[in-house]
């Protein structure tokens, strides 16, 4: 793929940081917070309605791009499960010294098990480091959310998992 085309299917890190749904570096440091990778004006306000803390703002004009208020966001992950575009994640940079905790939506079967080691996948679909499943929360709406421990260096790259048999 040419670079411009890649951009249309998987945003670069620089572009992500410009999004109103993406907290800045300082805000990311200060605890678990939702990152909303929703770059286009789509008529949708599901995340805003889903947030129990009023941390996501879209407004009356539902085509606006969602804006995150990191002060109000507690990183509960409700929006991760509810977003129809599966475009919201929760990032917790303070999980351990080496690892960050990432919450992802996962609509595939079978679900991984807690403690399982799986392959991290970038937002481009490429394989990344092996990651550990920290928790699996089946949600009633059919979009389970999974917490994974990922190397801090890959926290803005990994956005999915691949369950494959590898002898670690």
């Amino acid at each position: 793929m040419k670079e411009s085309q890649e951009e249309k299917a998987a945003l670069s890190k620089d572009k992500l940081f410009e999004l109103p749904g993406f907290p800045d570096k300082e805000e990311l440091e200060s605890g678990p917070v939702a990152v909303i990778e929703c770059p286009e004006e789509i008529a949708c306000n599901v995340c805003e309605a889903a947030c129990p803390f009023g941390a996501i703002e879209i407004g009356k004009e539902i085509i606006k791009v969602p804006k995150i208020d990191p002060d109000k966001c507690v990183g509960c992950g409700q929006c991760v499960s509810e977003c129809p575009g599966l475009a919201v994640y929760v990032v917790d940079l303070n999980y351990t010294d080496e690892e960050a905790l990432l919450t992802i939506p996962y609509e595939f079967s079978p679900l991984p098990k807690k403690g399982e080691i799986v392959t991290g996948v970038t937002r481009k679909g490429e394989k990344a480091s092996r990651v550990k499943i920290v928790s699996v929360d089946k949600k009633e709406n059919g979009t389970p959310i999974i917490k994974i421990a990922v190397p801090k260096s890959e926290i803005h790259e990994i956005r999915g998992i691949l369950i494959e048999e590898i002898n670690d």
Binding site: M1, K2, S4, Q5, K8, A9, A10, L11, E37, C38, P39, E40, E41, I42, A43, C44, N45, V46, A49, A50, K60, E61, I62, I63, E82, P84, G85, L86, A87, E107, F108, S109, V121, T122, R123, K124, G125, E126, K127, N141, G142, T143, R159, G160
Partner: protein, 375 residues
């Protein structure tokens, strides 16, 4: 001949909401659909929908269908399922075939919510088993839980193409490629991204299908790069192994019945093809014949839901089930919501196109004055 107050043709999102709004206001409404079950394309949509609460946003398509059918039943909408309309006489007399019997239904008003049909592209080998539309793939995979192959190549990277790609991955299939003739991916970013990050799918932009190959069914597809003038570039062919070539190259309004009725049309590339002219209340050039949803221009399901409501309220008002001032308020509320749905770079084009269709309607259709005197 069966006399009815209102017939709604097509039980997808627009037809269901139109019927609900009518029945709610006391109108006797018959909803005719040729399938075993109402719900239209919603039945095969397993993903959660965009929109806001009024459009069941965040709910999966098939569950939206369930909710709407439940509501229609609560409001005593009369369903005529497995009923195909094979002709229309004198503007509004519908000839309906159900099983081996036929009947004529003569409603005072008709709302056509007949949706859209898939476009196809032709190439050598396109009649081989294994070449099919995205709608068929969704029927197989999402409705009947059957994979019609293991490997899929998807032609078209619009929302339908990328959504089907993701759903195929969910079903355990391999998506070997998404082929797109334009220079850029056409779908919303979020749909494209959830597909590629779930399956590392190669996307071939500026490419089209040259040939589908195989003896008894498809075993591979040859794709070729196209230049800015959409012409194949010799020497750029690639062969991709695949069992299914899934065509997701757009939809066109399904206007056979409105054309049979004699509704005037205009061509709209934005809306996918010939569109029946309609006014702000969704009434066509034929008195008492309305349209709603994709047949009035291919857009989103959320828009179809609102257009169905608009047509329903308009018809109820024209039959004096609600006062014209109440109707005006209710229609305005719906139009406001439609305005919000048609915002942003994706929706704006639709808003402009609706405006253009309305202005053509006003130029060409003059029956308005004579009828308003009658009222």
């Amino acid at each position: 001949m069966l006399n009815k107050e209102v017939a709604v043709v097509g039980g997808g999102p627009a037809g269901l909401t139109a019927s609900i709004e009518l029945a709610k206001r006391g109108v006797n409404v018959t909803l005719i659909d040729e399938n075993l079950q109402a719900g239209g394309q919603l039945l095969k949509q397993t993903h959660k929908f965009f929109g806001s609460e009024e459009h069941y946003a965040g709910v999966r398509g098939f569950n939206i269908a369930k909710k709407l059918i439940q509501e229609a039943n609560n409001q005593s909408v009369d369903f005529l399922l497995e009923g195909s309309i094979y002709s229309v006489y004198e503007g509004k007399i519908l000839a309906v075939k159900k099983g081996k019997s036929t009947q004529l239904i003569s409603p005072e008003k008709v709302i056509y919510a007949t949706g859209a049909s898939e476009k196809v592209i032709n190439f050598p080998g396109w009649t081989l088993p294994g070449v099919m539309g995205a709608g068929a793939v969704q029927t197989f995979v999402n409705q009947h839980k059957v994979l019609p192959g293991r490997k899929f190549t998807i032609v078209g990277s619009g929302n339908v193409g990328t959504i089907v790609a993701y759903q195929l991955l969910q079903a355990g299939a391999e998506v070997t490629a998404i082929v797109e003739a334009a220079q850029e991916v056409g779908s919303y970013y979020v749909h494209a991204n959830k597909a590629i990050r779930s399956g590392d799918i190669p996307i071939f932009t500026s490419h089209t299908v040259k040939k589908a190959m195989g003896n008894e069914s498809v075993d591979s597809v040859k794709i070729v790069e196209v230049n800015e003038n959409w012409q194949p570039v010799p020497g750029t062919e690639k062969r991709i192994e695949t069992d299914v070539v899934c065509l997701a190259v757009g939809l066109r309004p399904r206007t056979k019945l409105t054309s049979l009725t004699g509704c005037q049309t205009t061509y709209s590339s934005t809306f996918g093809g010939e569109v029946p002219l309609h006014d702000k209340s969704m009434e066509t050039s034929i008195n008492g014949v309305y349209v709603a949803g994709d047949v009035a221009g291919v857009e989103e399901a959320s828009i179809a839901i609102e257009e169905g409501r608009l047509a329903g309220v308009s018809v109820a008002s024209s039959m004096n089930y609600i006062s014209s001032s109440t109707a005006a308020d209710q229609k305005q509320e719906i139009r406001n919501r439609l305005g919000l749905l048609r915002g942003g770079p994706y929706g704006e084009e639709g808003a402009k196109e609706k405006e253009r269709i309305r202005s053509i309607f006003n130029e060409r259709v003059t029956r308005r004055e004579s009828r308003s005197v009658k009222r």
